[in-house]
Every structure is written in structure tokens, then in C-alpha cells.
């Protein structure tokens, strides 16, 4: 980690290096970042790391169903986090579930960021009636809570990974559009924009190469928070039975599956996927909080 370089060694002050240094100043944010990196890594490597392929029905043993954490199963395998109603190793199910949750959160975030940022920046650049119309739509949509909009969309679209991504994109684009517009409005008045126009560059080039990169920092901040939101929202919708199909259980679906066993005290089927979800969201939020402080020009030292 370049951030913990001793201060005696004067590093060249590139903006990126300064950013890294400021970011890792907070212990909490560093911890959040480390945990998040670990989570992403194990989720990506789930097929290699997981003790069992939770979707290979041939490997599951119904006799091992609902075992408590730490019990040894029939085939000699120890279930560290217990097993679910079908004898599935919970640890493996959680690792695979993390994959689905992260995938849905990140993909929907990237699409929403791209769509929203383009809309917002173009609205700011175009001005006039177009800007008014776009921002009116954004305002109206942001007036409704995300869960209501997602509920409407999923009631209409049905289940599926692609469907939930569409729903999450529709929910989130407006946040990015609003942020991108206000950032672009600030940038629009600056001198380099005038210089770009004075050089006779085309509108597309000005927007894509000059305006957008400079409007990016606030978008990144909103982006981290939104990915955490998206993951939580997907889990909630899947828990309600509206999101993902049971063939690709995300963390939310795992928690829902454990719900029926909760009353009989078999807590681990719901509990551990929830812990995984919580730790994921918490670490993203910690990183996001620090990013906001570091990238905020008002708080700059």
C-alpha cells in the first residue's frame, strides 16, 4: 500500500497520490476499504474458495439439513456456518450469494451512472426547456421513495436478474442526473470551458472530454452510496419475493429462505447471510463517507 509510505520519503505530489494519502488517513475508512476488498475478492473467487458448490444438487445431502454451525456432516465435511433446509452449506451459499448481490449492485450502478451522468450533463449543457423538462422528471421521480418505484416496476416486469437490474437503474439514474447537472453547472462557468468553446471544439467533444471528467468526483461519491443502496434494495426486494428467481439466490433470498426456520430457533440460516450483507453495506458506506470528505473541495486543506 503506497499510502503508508513513511513521510520522510517525499513522494511526488500527484493529485492521485495526494488523494490516496488523504483517503487512508482515516483508520475507519482504511478498515472499510480492506474489508470491502476482501469481500469482493472472495465473491469473485467463490467457485475456488467455497467448500461446496451450493447449486450442485448432487452434492447436497438432505440428511445434513438444518445442521447447527460447526457440525460435521455425513460426508465428513464440517459446516462452519451450518446448513439450510436442503442441507446446503451456508458458508458456500453466502459466498455465491455475495457474488449475485455485488454483481447486481455494481452493474446497475454503472449503467445508472452512465445514463444519469449523460442526461444530467447534457441537460446542463443544453439549458432552456430541455433542462427544465429533464430536471422536472428527475424531481418528480426523486419525490417517491426508491422502494415504491422498484415495486411498481417489478410488479410489471416480473422476476429475473435482468429485470431487477432494469428496476434498479430506473430507481437510481435520477440521483446521478441531479448530481451531474449541478456539478456541470458549476463547471460550465469556469474559464477552461470558455477556452474550449473559444477553440471551436464541437459540443460533443466539450461535453465528453472536458465537462464530464471534471464533473466526475461528486458522481463517484454518489456512486458508492448508491451501490450500497442498490445492494440493500435488491436484498429487500428479493426478500419480498419480487427480485431474483430462486435459481440464483442473492443474500436477500437466503435470508428469506431462513425466515420460516426462525421461529423454531434455527437462527443461522437467516442470521449469517444478513451479517454478510451488513458488513458489505457498512464497508461501502465507510469508504463512501471518507470519499465524500476527501473529494469535497469545501473541506480541502
Amino acid at each position: 500500500m503506497s499510502a503508508v509510505l513513511p513521510a520522510a520519503e517525499p513522494a511526488p505530489q500527484t493529485p492521485f497520490r495526494r488523494f490516496l494519502e488523504e483517503f487512508f488517513e482515516s483508520k475507519l475508512a482504511t478498515l472499510g476499504f480492506a474489508v470491502l476488498a476482501a469481500i469482493v475478492l472472495v465473491a469473485l473467487l467463490a467457485p475456488l474458495v467455497a467448500p461446496q458448490n451450493p447449486y450442485d444438487l448432487g452434492k447436497l445431502d438432505l440428511l445434513d439439513a438444518r445442521l447447527e454451525p460447526g457440525t460435521k456432516g455425513g460426508a465428513g465435511m464440517t459446516y462452519v456456518l451450518g446448513t439450510d433446509g436442503q442441507g446446503r452449506d451456508m458458508l458456500s451459499a453466502i459466498l455465491y450469494g455475495l457474488r449475485v448481490s455485488l454483481y447486481v449492485g455494481v452493474v446497475s450502478g454503472i449503467i445508472a451512472l452512465t445514463l444519469g451522468a449523460l442526461t444530467g450533463v447534457l441537460a446542463a449543457y443544453a439549458g432552456g426547456r430541455i433542462e427544465q423538462f429533464v430536471m422536472r422528471v428527475v424531481d418528480i421521480q426523486l419525490g417517491f421513495p426508491a422502494i415504491l418505484v422498484a415495486l411498481i416496476l417489478l410488479a410489471v416486469l416480473g422476476k429475473g436478474v435482468d429485470k431487477i437490474i432494469i428496476a434498479l437503474v430506473c430507481v437510481q439514474w435520477a440521483y446521478y442526473a441531479r448530481t451531474a447537472r449541478s456539478a456541470a453547472l458549476v463547471e460550465r462557468g469556469k474559464e477552461y470551458m470558455e477556452a474550449a468553446r473559444g477553440l471551436g471544439l464541437s459540443g460533443t467533444r466539450i461535453v465528453l472530454r472536458h465537462l464530464l471528467p471534471n464533473a466526475l468526483p461528486p458522481l463517484i461519491v454518489v456512486g458508492t452510496v448508491q451501490v450500497a443502496h442498490a445492494i440493500a434494495l435488491e436484498a429487500t426486494l428479493s426478500f419480498l419475493g419480487l427480485g431474483l428467481p430462486t435459481t440464483e439466490p442473492s443474500l436477500g433470498l437466503l435470508i428469506a429462505n431462513g425466515y420460516e426456520y426462525l421461529m423454531s430457533g434455527k437462527y443461522w440460516i437467516s442470521f449469517y447471510p444478513g451479517v454478510a450483507l451488513l458488513v458489505t453495506i457498512l464497508s461501502i458506506n465507510l469508504v463512501g463517507d471518507q470519499l465524500r470528505d476527501v473529494l469535497n473541495p469545501r473541506l480541502a486543506k
Partner: protein
């Protein structure tokens, strides 16, 4: 002012119209309610009869037109499942949701403002830091999972509070309310706490940010310099000014609590509108889903409008800006 309100109301109609079209069109494409409603052994003829009775044999556009005509007279169609007016079914469930939302807001405001005030006034103390760390946790905890934990701890392990359902109700101003008796309140405590947790964190953070921002301003220094007691400076001068933005957020959050009740009601089997709409989505009870969405969207827009009006009434600067435009 009047023009502003009228324009907003016209906008409301437009939004309702678009939502109804979107939802109606979408639901028409998803699955056939007749399949769910009739007995699986029913023959073709009986299916056709059911479809005709519900008006499902007509073309989609005609169905929508009939719906729109009805909607203007306050008739949002008949529930396929209950066989009664969909609006009636929803309004019947509304008090349960509203009392839950009300209790949750009371909890989050009642705890959130004092905690946020404290954290803002002594930002570097241990207590303030713990409050803030707790609020990040509250933000990150998935609501539905917390609901499960609450049931697990307080209902299953400790057995202090009932896990699901709504308690006995009493009539209050013609509405069935459960939180006025202790027995009824016991049922409402866990779901309301569940619903309040996220809002509580939000209000804590917001109050703290406001306090920190405002306490640097001149009017606070001036009040101090005048030799006013600390309690008066905080309780009157500071609180008045931080309340303006807070009221806006609290108002908007009231709407989002009503929407989020969908989750909490499902976990705690609370018989409100939220649970009704989830059940209706699964049963393809199209009229109830459409009616729920229209009612909620309408409530939402009204809340937003009232918050805006309240805001301009509370903050003189907003009023001046409006006159100019």
C-alpha cells in the same frame, strides 16, 4: 401562491395518469389472473365466463378506458380476490399502516433530535462519536433483516413482545386504532421500531450537521454575547433554526415510511396496505395493485406539496424568492 398550488395539482393529475397507464399496461402484459382465480380443473367455458365477469375478455385499451372513466368518479375497479371495490379494501387497511408510520415517526423524531443535538454540541466527545457510529450502523442495517433479528430476540428468545399480527383495536374518531391500549401497543412496538431505525439514523445525522453549521453563525454568537443562558440559546435560538430544514425532511420521510411499511408489514404480518399490495401482486389482483399505487402516489404528492407550503410559511427567505419568480 394560488397559481403555484394549482400548477402543482395539475402536475399531480398528470403524474397519476402516467402511473396508472404504466402500471395498467404493464400488468396487462404479465400473466393471466384468470389462471389463478379459477379452479385448475375448470373447463374452457368456465374460464371464459370468469374472464367475461371480470371484464378481462375485452381489449386492453378498452379495459383501460373503462378504468379511467371509473377513476374519475372515484371507482378504481373491483378486486378480483375480494370481489369488492379495490379502493374500499385499501382504505380499510389504511389505518393500520398509518398508525404504524405515525408511531415510527414519533420514535425517530423523539429520539433522533435530542441525540443529534447532543452529538452536534459536543462533536468530539466519546458519547457523540458512539452516537454517530451507531447512526452509520443504522444506515447500513438492512431493514428486513433487523426485523427478523427483533423477532428472534424479543419474541422468540425473550418472549417479551408478540412477534406478528396486530393487537386488539379500539374505535377512535370512527377509525379502528390499536396503539391506544397497552395490549395493542405491545403488538405495534417491534414493527414500529423496525420501521423507525433507518429514519432515526437519518434524523440524528441531519440534526448534528445542522447544529454544527448553525452554531458557527453570528446570531448564536450574538445571543451568547448578550449573556443569554446556554439552555435558552440552544432551546430557542438554535432549535428554531435547525427545525426548518428538519421539518421538510421529516415530512418527506413520513411518505417514505408509508412506502417502506411494505417490508415491515410483510415480516410482522401486520394487516396494513403494504402487506395487502404484496399479496395482491402475487395473486395478480390487478385492480388492488393499481389502486394501491395510485392511492400511495397521491398521498405522496400531497405530502410533498404540504411540506413545500409549510417550508415557505416557516422560512421567510423562501417566500421572497417565490414572489420574484
Amino acid at each position: 401562491m394560488t397559481v403555484y398550488v394549482l400548477r402543482r395539482l395539475a402536475q399531480t393529475l398528470l403524474v397519476l395518469f402516467v402511473t396508472s397507464g404504466l402500471v395498467f399496461g404493464g400488468l396487462y402484459l404479465v400473466g393471466d389472473p384468470v389462471e389463478i382465480l379459477v379452479n385448475p380443473q375448470a373447463d374452457q367455458e368456465e374460464r371464459a365466463r370468469t374472464a367475461a365477469a371480470l371484464g378481462l375478455d375485452r381489449p386492453a385499451l378498452e379495459q383501460y378506458w373503462i378504468f379511467l372513466k371509473g377513476a374519475f368518479t372515484g371507482d378504481l375497479g373491483k378486486s378480483f380476490v375480494f370481489g369488492r371495490s379495490a379502493l374500499e379494501v385499501i382504505i380499510e387497511r389504511m389505518p393500520a399502516t398509518l398508525e404504524l408510520a405515525f408511531l415510527a415517526m414519533v420514535m425517530s423524531v423523539g429520539l433522533g433530535i435530542p441525540l443529534g443535538l447532543y452529538a452536534g454540541l459536543r462533536p468530539h466527545g466519546l458519547a457523540a462519536r458512539s452516537i454517530m457510529a451507531g447512526s452509520i450502523l443504522g444506515f447500513s442495517l438492512p431493514t428486513f433483516w433487523v426485523g427478523l433479528l427483533l423477532i428472534m430476540v424479543f419474541a422468540v428468545q425473550l418472549g417479551w413482545l408478540p412477534s406478528t399480527g396486530r393487537g386488539p383495536t379500539t374505535e377512535f374518531l370512527g377509525v379502528q386504532v390499536s396503539i391506544l391500549t397497552w395490549e395493542g401497543l405491545r403488538y405495534a412496538l417491534l414493527p414500529a421500531l423496525n420501521l423507525a431505525l433507518f429514519k432515526l439514523s437519518l434524523i440524528i445525522r441531519l440534526t448534528r450537521a445542522q447544529v454544527r453549521e448553525q452554531s458557527l453563525l453570528d446570531y448564536i454568537r450574538f445571543a451568547r454575547a448578550k449573556g443569554l443562558k446556554r439552555a435558552r440559546v440552544i432551546g430557542v435560538h438554535l432549535l428554531k433554526n435547525i427545525l426548518i430544514p428538519l421539518i421538510t425532511v421529516i415530512g418527506l420521510e413520513l411518505g417514505s415510511v408509508i412506502a417502506f411499511a411494505v417490508v415491515t408489514e410483510t415480516i410482522f404480518a401486520w394487516p396494513g396496505m403494504g402487506k395487502l399490495v404484496i399479496d395482491s401482486i402475487f395473486q395478480l389482483d390487478r385492480p388492488v395493485v393499481v389502486a394501491y399505487l395510485l392511492v400511495t402516489v397521491f398521498m405522496f404528492i400531497m405530502i410533498n406539496l404540504m411540506v413545500d407550503l409549510l417550508y415557505s410559511a416557516l422560512d421567510p427567505r423562501v417566500r421572497i424568492a417565490e414572489v420574484k419568480s
